[in-house]
Symmetry: C2
Subunit: 368 residues, 2 copies
């Protein structure tokens, strides 16, 4: 048989596998410990909305039926909540799937995709999978540098990724800056605006994607139920875009991309204001606690608009990560992002935040 | 802004939307009826395995956590059950996702994909989405005609789809025929073998994909938990292929493509032999009942190896479909497949099968 390597493209060969946050069970098994905590994947520290859990229970008897291919109930709720038409909403198997729809629709081999880096690694991987050319633009002071992004635009540029707030830095692009940028770029470019953490942003000067559905440029906004809504395990997110765009994105979507329990749970979670507010309060209080304690420890961090925080631990973040694992605390070392002095920690509940601070304190004494 | 139509490829423009089987709630709302039954999507007439439902309940408290990115527990179980290595298994958000992985890995714009037709419509749609060229080969006596498939192979052929049993005809390719075909095609071609209904096959001369992991040609086999395992709503299936192939397919896979409840439920369903056997028995008995009653009505049908059946209702299948809807019975009219004289009915439970026969009898008297 022909060698498989000859059958796949160079782009695919270049892809390095995604490394997910270590699962709790794996850590506990490997290290022989119990009661470990995970602060590595920016999940909701409160757990799922009880209304969402109830909604799943109510749908268990029909899981042998295919899901609603159009997620109509969810689109109806989102439409009302966001004040956008149902035609502008495209449900996805986690918001990451919106990356794939967008690249499939607008990218062809040899064309360029601009990616401000370091950022979420899947933008590059999916560009490579389509044989597109990722054009990386370094962050400036930990923030997306739109001036440099603009300078990289060329005749082959098709797509620009903007992660706002940016993962892992937690910084945001502000409204004026974003709007000036939109007006300054060619009309043929499609922006993929990843707002996975948008609900956590407290800065009023934050440009939300649903305000730009009608221009001045083509924008596909990514939203998720994995973070503030606490449904990461179910895989559900959505895209927001003008009808002209969703017309084509829907052609590419698998008809049953979103499972029926996720649809039911997402509707219930949208209806659970109490859980949303409590989550935002816990994260805000947790961040304050972390800021204060890191200040006391004289550790630098990047002030964040999201539910995670970059903390400077010295030039040995992988070692700190390993030592934290032994304490039963999973964080994310940022060496693979090019920040070898930093870890990223998800804001947890009060108990988790206290344990993180105590463990970090202990570990930094060990490792320095 | 540039017209979106100019930004997408011709292949994407050609895609016609997938039409799913009508949902029960929609029918009941539209026609103002209650107690309708759906025999249109080849779902499990018994419902989900009770063990699968229990497994979901046990996982509800952790749905705010990301799923296991590698579906390790499921791969371990499948590996033991099928006697293949875990590295040969690639879990998917419904087996349809395996189509996408395979096309992304091996298809580039302008290359050809051979599709025996009529068959499952998504093979063509996803080929078009990648700007590949679908090369259609007509069935012969309702069966995949491998001789004609071979004749269509050219220098641009990359992939051949084989749906075994074929949907909607229910016919199979036999072992010898399949093996001769494999030996006769170029070594650079990848076969995508869709076995969504493979578990229902009673003919012992059926070539199962897991027997060809090591050749004589590259084969990616698609399997699903949506049919015999009764988990269509959860979206879970898997691919089987040699390690050389899964190495690349895994690079293209979203890390969290399969939700955590689906993983838990699939493991439990695999462990529920009683439910599997009962399902196979109900389907076999149901088919016998349908055959006998269609014979009595002097209606032609295509003997099937799957859990659905093509029934000849005259040259007005859309009208028959509409009249059946009024009786509260959803079937699939096959005009869009090019079989304008046929409907496809999923084998239901005894009550559903009786209602189908009674309604069909009534409706055919009306419409003829």
């Amino acid at each position: 048989m022909t060698n498989v390597k000859q059958l796949v493209s160079d782009g695919i060969k270049k892809i390095t596998p995604y490394v997910p946050g270590k699962p709790l069970e794996e850590l506990e098994r490997e290290y022989g410990i119990a009661g470990a905590i995970k602060m590595a994947s920016n999940e909701n520290p409160l757990g799922p909305s009880p209304k969402a859990v109830k909604a799943i229970e109510n749908h268990l008897s029909t899981i042998h039926r295919y899901p609603d291919a159009n997620s109509n109930a969810l689109k109806e709720m989102l439409s009302k909540k966001l004040g956008v038409s149902q035609e502008s909403i495209i449900p996805a198997n986690g918001s990451n799937e919106i990356i794939e729809f967008s690249l499939k629709a607008f990218l062809r081999p040899g064309y360029e995709v601009i990616i401000p880096e370091p950022t979420f690694s899947l933008y590059t991987k999916f560009t490579q999978a389509m044989d597109g050319i990722p054009v990386k633009v370094p962050l400036k002071k930990f923030s997306v540098d739109l001036k440099s992004v603009r300078e990289k635009i060329g005749p082959k540029t098709r797509i620009i990724f903007i992660n706002n707030p940016n993962n892992p830095t937690g910084t945001i692009i502000k409204k004026n800056e974003f709007e000036d940028f939109l007006h300054s770029i060619p009309e043929s470019i499609v922006i993929i605006l990843d707002e996975a953490y948008g609900e956590f942003v407290t800065d009023p000067d934050f440009p939300r994607g649903d305000c730009y559905l009608n221009g001045p440029r083509w924008i596909i906004t990514m939203r998720t139920f994995s973070k503030v809504y606490g449904l990461a395990g179910l895989r559900i997110g959505y895209g927001l875009a003008s009808r002209e765009l969703t017309h084509y994105l829907n052609k590419i979507r698998q008809p049953f991309n979103v499972n029926s329990l996720a649809q039911a749970a997402a509707c219930a979670a949208l209806d659970d204001d109490q859980h949303l507010k409590k989550t935002l309060r816990i994260v805000a209080e947790g961040l304050n606690y972390l800021y204060q304690n890191l200040d006391q420890l004289k550790l630098e961090y990047i002030p964040t608009q999201a539910n995670y925080l970059m903390v400077k631990v010295g030039d040995n973040c992988d070692k700190v990560y390993e030592l934290m694992l032994r304490e039963g605390v999973i964080v994310r070392p940022l060496s693979s992002f090019g920040f070898s002095e930093y870890i990223r920690v998800s804001v947890g509940n009060q108990q988790e935040n206290e344990r993180f601070i105590a463990s970090l304190k202990k570990v930094l004494q060990y490792s320095n």
